[in-house]
């Protein structure tokens, strides 16, 4: 403090050490300022921020250089959400006392957290905008904005008050009461807040309680101090534990043992069953997986076995087709050999060879070639079988005769050969002499059917016809007597040899050794190829 007259720093006394002027008034002014600061400090300490602001403003009216009062005023502004006003006070304070000033700390705190400052600035703008909405009648918009404001800046008392006023206008008194209680928690002696609350209490007939939360907070504080009970007895503060604790060594060991037992019980009854259950589940899962894998492998094995069977069938089919193809190729080879024999004039060999072929083995041009060859050599084949059969017949070998004559008959199904009728007839006789009467009857019947004009030659030998029966050829000139002779026919055959050949010495115009067969009816002789001799 300096003298108002000479600007000399003042001492404790009421006179200026420089000019000797009476500075008691100046000092009184400063004391008043300090007194108001003290009052403001007391009010601020009990959250009477409105009262504190009033006192501090008065203090600064008396002494603008009261730095503590100005800093505290800024702090009160900051606490009520008036951040810009607080910042103004702190800046002025810093200009009045650039060094060793607490305002530096406050300003740094604000400037270091620019997001916080921006948020507060936005809430102030929204608050101003809400006032504009209210004055324009857009109260819904104002409510929306004010809700955002109190959410972002919960210390802005004016926003609580304005929002409460809007709720009160819409007669939503409970919401207004809650907001005003929050405002009172920030500044508990704000006249506007208290006035609104009084109005609400009058309208609702219910008082507003502030003590519940404070009492709860006090209880929590007491419990948070390690379960101790504090009270003041005279000038002494007594701290008493709320529970009695026995801290002897035995009790410690007992507690440890009990803890161990309790831990073991927890492990045994809670952890072990869950672990066992998890192990069982894991095992079951593994078994299930193994079964599923086994089933899938079995299915795959079955599929592979089916594929093997399919391929085996295909292989067998391919082998069969290959064999068929080889057989067909052999047949074709044999057919070509037959054709070669036929072309080279060896009809006898061709006839033998073509008889060994199967016509079903050929198709297309080969089939046509086979049919042509068959047609060409069938006559020779018939003659061959016929000659062999009659030769055996003459020799008394009736079985061979029957076999060869059967082949002759079978080789000419169209009965094209002129000797077919004889072959059929002698076939019947051969079977007859062998004793196979069924086949003999069959052959005779066919003969009678095919040649009805000559039926009388054989009908006598059919079983059950009432004829002679017995051995064919044993009755001399009967129809069953077959003889091969040069000119005359005589039924002189005995039972051991049915066909007797008589030499004709009168007119042997051919070599008798060439006679293969003599027609029993006409007496004509034929060679082994069916050619007429003589």
């Amino acid at each position: 403090m300096r003298c108002v007259y000479c600007n000399t720093p003042l001492a404790v006394i009421d006179y200026c050490p420089g000019c000797g002027a009476d500075v008691s008034i100046q000092k009184r002014i400063v004391r008043i300022s300090n007194l108001l600061y003290n009052r403001g400090l007391e009010k601020a300490s009990v959250r009477d921020l409105s009262g504190a602001i009033t006192c501090l403003k008065q203090s600064l009216k008396f002494n603008k250089e009261n730095i503590d009062a100005r800093n505290l005023l800024g702090l009160c502004y900051f606490e009520t959400g008036e951040v810009v006003s607080a910042l103004c006070e702190w800046v002025i304070s810093k200009n009045l006392l650039p060094e060793n000033n607490l305002a530096d700390y406050y300003i740094d705190q604000l400037q270091n957290n620019k997001n916080r400052l921006d948020t507060i600035n936005q809430t102030i703008r929204k608050y101003n905008q809400s006032i504009g909405y209210c004055r324009q009648g857009n109260e819904d918009m104002a409510v929306i904005q004010l809700k955002k404001v109190v959410a972002q800046n919960p210390k802005l008392v004016k926003a609580y008050q304005l929002l409460a006023l809007l709720y009160m206008k819409h007669e939503d008194y409970e919401k207004a009461r809650r907001l005003l209680k929050k405002a009172a928690n920030v500044d508990n002696t704000n006249t506007t807040t208290l006035r609104y609350l009084t109005e609400i209490e009058e309208l609702t007939g219910r008082s507003t309680s502030f003590g519940g939360r404070k009492r709860r907070q006090e209880t929590e504080e007491e419990e948070g101090q390690g379960g101790t009970l504090r009270y003041v007895s005279g000038n002494e503060t007594i701290i008493q534990p709320t529970t009695f604790r026995d801290s002897s060594t035995v009790a410690t060991f007992i507690n440890i043992a009990l803890g161990i037992l309790l831990g073991g019980a927890i492990v045994w009854f809670l952890v072990v069953p869950s672990t066992r259950q998890s192990m069982n589940d894991s095992t079951n899962q593994q078994v299930t997986d193994a079964n599923m894998k086994l089933a899938s492998e079995s299915a795959r094995l079955q599929d592979l076995q089916d594929q093997i069977d399919t391929y085996q069938e295909k292989a067998d089919q391919a082998d069969y087709e290959r064999n068929q193809a080889l057989e067909k190729a052999d047949s074709y080879e044999e057919l070509m050999a037959v054709a070669d024999l036929y072309v080279t004039g060896q009809q006898s060999g061709a006839a033998d060879a073509v008889g060994a072929l199967n016509g079903e083995d050929f198709s297309g041009n080969a089939k046509k070639l086979y049919d042509d060859l068959m047609g060409a050599v069938s006559s020779a084949l018939f003659t061959q079988y016929y000659t062999a059969g009659t030769t055996a017949y003459v020799a008394g070998d009736y079985a061979t005769a029957a076999q060869q004559l059967q082949l002759a008959v079978d080789s000419d199904p169209q009965r094209n050969n002129s000797q077919y009728a004889d072959a059929l007839m002698y076939l019947g006789f051969a079977y007859y002499n062998v004793g196979d009467t069924a086949k003999a009857d069959q052959a005779f019947q066919k003969f009678m059917d095919d040649y009805p004009s000559r039926a009388s030659e054989v009908q006598y030998y059919i079983s059950g016809s009432g004829g002679q029966g017995g051995d064919a050829g044993s009755t001399g000139t009967t129809q069953g007597d077959v003889s091969m002779q040069g000119g005359d026919t005589q039924g002189a055959g005995d039972s051991g040899q049915d066909i007797t050949i008589y030499e004709d010495n009168n007119s042997p115009s051919y070599d008798p050794s060439q006679v293969a067969w003599t027609d029993p009816n006409t007496g004509l002789n034929y060679d082994m190829y069916g050619n007429l001799l003589g």
Binding site: V4, Y5, I25, Q26, I29, V30, L60, K61, F62, N63, K64, E65, E82, V84, S85, L87, C88, V91, I92, L117, N121, I124, R125, Y127, N128, I131, C134, R135, K158, Q161, L162, L165, M168, K169, T192, R195, Y196, E199
Partner: protein, 48 residues
Amino acid sequence: MINYEEELKKFHPSMDVNEAEDAIYSRDLTDVTDILKEMLQDEKKKKK
């Protein structure tokens, strides 16, 4: 009974950060000591 319109008139826009500088410069920082000094100077002038 609270009159909404009258109460609304009591609410004034707050200063935002951009207005802080102007507010600081326009602040009247005159205190009682300044008034005392001015009175003493006026008294001196009257004596002269």
